[in-house]
Subunit: 472 residues, 2 copies
């Protein structure tokens, strides 16, 4: 495709996206297609000859859009928000259009240095001290894997240079809470620790990690000759947005030289609001943390930030230095290939740069406060409504709720919950996520899509009540 064709078709693509964002509120939020339906609508073999781009745009409307659940919809309340603010989308467009790679600083110096600048802007925005360095990654799953590998190598005196995890006399142990995200357990297993060496620490009434239970578990492992290695704490759990007590946890990790990694994937965005920072008090005592500007904050996916206090250790674990990647300035620059797993690196910093500049810190703060207000409003409605329960404190913008008709309990209540939640999603009017809490299904309502105003939350509340009241 020539630049002139790109100019013409690119305008059409931009118009298509602008139209999509304008009309998205009118689409059913959750896709209604059946498994295999999209696949069956597409040719099973690639075209030998070129097709016009018009045909592709036609298929987009005809086949693709009906197969999407619309994350940018104002009545998307599922999972956590994944906002692609349009200023950030344009930043990503610039990155893809430039097509430059950051294999090393020299392979495109601005890519590395803008990343240094914007990750430091973000550090300041969430109130972290200058002791932290940041790097952009794809997802929190990847960052937590990096953190646990770094913890493993610190605790084992760089076993990767020797016999690896296969040469450990006594097993290294990792501690997480039962409420931590599935990616935390996955990271521990992929890093080779083994499930037997993963402790699920109990949580308190607010579903935050019980630091006393953590201390007991560490003591028991030490007594048994095992070696406590790392704790992954969560600031804002997936189920209920609970905050593990970082100060109390750090008192345990400090005492035994354990690595403390904090998963703030969702709640990190909230820390641009000074009034929320008490929720992660103690964060300065952690070794590493991850938060995802591609969630609530509005950076187009994927944009996950890994912050760490000891870049030298990270680089020692991750570095490779083959001749074809060396340059004369390597001692004076950051080579971000040594700050994570992938060698290749997009110019992801541009989407964060565009987001922060176009919105301004105050603009971002204003939107997040709007969402917190909307969550408090819905919380009030639920509290006032007979037959409805809130199952957890509303720390930020996610509510855990359930309709509990008199006389329903146990599995019957579960069936009722899944039924009405299923009807809500099938209605196309809203998208919510059922999840299990304390062994029973409930419904998560996560407020914070870009377009979600009070009216959309009020409409959701109507839909929830209507479907809960209707017969299955």
């Amino acid at each position: 495709m020539t630049p002139e064709e790109f100019r013409r078709l690119g305008h059409r693509v931009v118009d298509w996206v602008a139209d999509y964002r304008e009309r998205v509120a009118g689409l059913p939020v959750m896709s209604r297609v059946a498994p295999g339906e999209i696949r069956a609508a597409l040719p099973s073999s690639p075209p030998a000859a070129p097709e016009g781009f018009e045909a592709i745009l036609g298929d987009l409307d005809r086949v693709i859009v009906p197969g999407l659940s619309h994350w940018q919809h104002p009545r998307f309340f599922g999972y956590f928000p994944s906002n692609g603010e349009l200023s950030s989308v344009l930043g990503d467009y610039l990155s893809t259009g430039l097509g430059v790679l950051g294999l090393s600083w020299q392979s495109s110096p601005a890519l590395t240095e803008v990343e240094e600048v914007v990750t430091d802007w973000m550090r300041q925005m969430v109130g972290l001290s200058p002791a932290w360095s940041g790097v952009i990654s794809d997802t929190a799953s990847s960052c937590t894997l990096v953190a646990l590998i770094c913890a493993r190598e610190r605790a084992s005196a760089f076993s990767l240079a020797g016999a690896g995890l296969q040469g450990q006399a006594a097993p290294l142990v990792v501690y997480v809470s039962a409420q931590s995200h599935s990616s935390v357990e996955k990271a521990a297993l992929l890093a080779g620790f083994g499930r037997e060496n993963l402790r699920l620490i109990q949580t308190d009434g607010a579903r935050a990690m019980d630091a006393a239970a953590l201390a007991r578990a560490v003591a028991a492992d030490l007594a048994a000759g095992r070696r406590p290695c790392a704790v992954v704490a969560t600031s804002g759990t997936t189920a209920t947005t609970a905050f593990d007590p970082l100060e109390a946890i750090a008192a345990v990790t400090d005492g035994h030289g354990l690595w403390l990694h904090v998963d703030a994937a969702m709640a990190g965005s909230a820390m641009i609001l000074p009034e929320c920072r008490h929720l992660w008090a103690g964060i300065e005592r952690a070794d590493s943390l991850v938060f995802n500007p591609h969630k609530w904050l509005g950076a187009a996916f994927d944009c996950s930030l890994y912050y760490l206090r000891d870049p030298e250790h990270l680089v020692r674990v991750m570095s490779t230095n083959p001749s074809y990647l060396q340059s004369a300035v390597d001692d004076r620059v950051r080579n971000l290939r040594d700050w994570g797993v992938p060698l290749g690196r997009r110019f992801r910093a541009l989407k964060l740069w565009c987001l922060i500049r176009e919105q301004g810190v105050e603009g971002l703060q204003r939107r997040l406060r709007r969402d917190l207000d909307n969550a408090r409003w819905l919380e009030e409605q639920v509290r006032r409504e007979p037959g409805w329960s809130l199952l957890a404190p509303v720390a930020l913008q996610t509510l855990c709720l359930r309709h509990e008709p008199p006389g329903l309990a146990g599995e019957a209540l579960d069936r009722h919950t899944l039924d009405w939640a299923g009807r809500v999603n099938a209605s196309g009017e809203a998208y919510v996520t059922p999840a299990v809490l304390d062994g029973r299904w409930m419904v998560r309502v996560s407020i914070g899509a870009l377009l979600t105003e009070r009216g959309h939350v009020a409409a959701l509340w109507e839909t929830l009540r209507r479907e809960a009241a209707s017969q299955a």
Copy 2:
């Protein structure tokens, strides 16, 4: 940013990118900025109030572009090509604009099913049998890490569900060639095997893995009570595009139940040409392979494909199934979160879908054959020119060459090579990558940027000779 503002500014961004692609040939290929220069040109703190997008576009021209090495430049001969074909760029624009995520099939069914369709198109395009399933990842580094973790778990009977790599009675061993990419060693170390359990198998005269040496190493480990686990073979090494003999290697891996992973990151693209497929004869005997359409083929970075023969094993290693990610159709769909490390997933399939449809398989083949022709032309020039050497067979489109003035050898020759290569890059006329081969510096010329025609290769050859002949 409203959709209307996005429409207006999006047109400007598209025009900016079109202009950039039109004028890129006139820019110095390699950036000339000094370390810290870009960082110093940007504010050290984020803006409190919103800035206009115009200011951002201004900074792009003023600050960013001078800090880039231009990978889409017709005289970019560094590393390997990383082509962002403009049809693929538009596919990525659609993905970012839609802002949908594939956490599970249900979270946007089309995202998963288009990925199934295009990875199967690509399987057919490179001539793999239907026994292979594909999934899109970010980079070959990540895919190779996944492959080695899968190998580890197969050899250890799913140790992750038990004591992990910490509970192995006899160490698992991984075999690679000394010419394999740095990401392979990195993956083995991150997966916990340890450097002591990583064997660098010697290569033959063509710098391909010596299968007899591999067999001897496996036998020696078995005799010593260690457990051979996996071989990573390379189809198209980074230094010289050498191809490890897959049939002979498979004869070793088959005999001992070792996992065979093939790194075809660069050369996978070549396999859309039937005349190249003899180079990876035996590929059907591998367990997994990675190739990167974001290199020569033209998919906008990042788009790395992981193909595997046993998805059930992969899913068993990678799966997590928390309640908030479950849906009623899970037994009938692919949930791609269980096909790799990250949970979140962009709609990356769109950029491959747009590339293949807009170019057609024949269009892609034609371009790759053009590049092969250009490489053969340059090869002839180098062969005919006194004082110049080709250091490896030209299997595809990458040449390894050196200017060797009479009387120069050893470190003096190294200094000469690095000097003239440095002058070539500093001239801005072309970008080449110095690398070490057999202990001596040489220069890699990797042909295959989208815009590179015969004239650009001829101009490069002039620049190479001029700078090699000039006094340092």
